[in-house]
């Protein structure tokens, strides 16, 4: 598993009080882990700080609501971590 996944899983476990062992790369943050939109703000804040990025939550939410992208693209752990890696790489570029 990637170091990004380990870091994000630790953040979610601590921030949302979720059993760390229940978080896998296939976990859906909302459907599987039961994280609601307000709790996800806490997680986004912790991720923003930990990785020095700004998760584009508004853009993601809009894309999902408008049917332009499935929620899985952003809220399944392995995909969320891939998006984070992309944002970190873009920041370094």
């Amino acid at each position: 598993m990637s170091s990004t996944f380990e870091k994000v899983a630790d953040i979610i476990a601590e921030t949302a009080d979720i059993d760390r062992t229940s978080i896998t790369e296939a976990s859906h943050a909302i459907d599987d882990l039961g994280i609601d939109s307000l709790a996800f703000l806490d997680i986004a804040f912790a991720i923003d700080k930990a990785f020095g990025i700004k998760l584009p939550l508004e853009q993601w939410t809009q894309e999902v609501n408008e049917g332009k992208a499935p929620a899985e693209n952003y809220f399944v752990m392995k995909n969320l971590c891939a998006r984070i890696d992309e944002l970190v790489a873009a920041k370094k570029a």
Binding site: L38, L41, A44, D48
Partner: protein
């Protein structure tokens, strides 16, 4: 300050867009029905209303920084410290600084002082959402009445 109407700020003194900081002042009223219960014969400004005061100060900071285009709604208060009791007719100064400008949310650090002495402080998170109905116009009017410079949004 009118506690019963949740009007916690008397005046916005400054909004600095470089340091991302807003300063405001207020005076705890000398008379309020809230003091009849908190506490009988021993009036004290309730701590929850001090937190509300810090939240409103932060809210106007965020409104000012986003030029009144979206509404901050309180979602979380962390590390709140209530350090001093305040009675009626006490002048206070509030300060809020932007800690993090997230996507659809923001985090501030706010504090209240009186006579230069710390009263309370907290870290406060807001979810930023589009204004419901005509709330934007009302918030702009409220801000203008507090002394903020408010420009009308582009049509």
């Amino acid at each position: 300050m009118k506690l019963e109407y949740f009007q916690m700020i008397d005046r916005v003194v400054s909004l600095d867009r470089e340091t991302l900081r807003l300063v405001a002042t207020s005076r705890i009223p000398s008379i309020s029905p809230i003091f009849e219960g908190h506490f009988p014969g021993h009036p004290l400004m309730p701590g929850v209303l001090l937190i509300e005061t810090m939240a409103q100060t932060s809210g106007y900071l965020l409104l000012g920084l986003n030029n009144f285009t979206a509404m901050p709604f309180l979602t979380k208060v962390v590390n709140a410290n209530l350090r001093r009791f305040l009675g009626p007719d006490t002048p206070i100064e509030m300060e809020a600084t932007l800690l993090h400008d997230g996507s659809g949310y923001a985090v501030t650090k706010a504090k209240i002082t009186t006579g230069g002495k710390a009263v309370c402080d907290a870290e406060i998170m807001f979810k930023i959402l589009p204004f419901p109905e005509d709330l934007g116009a009302k918030m702009r009017a409220n801000a203008a009445s507090l002394g903020m410079v408010v420009t009308e949004p582009a049509a």
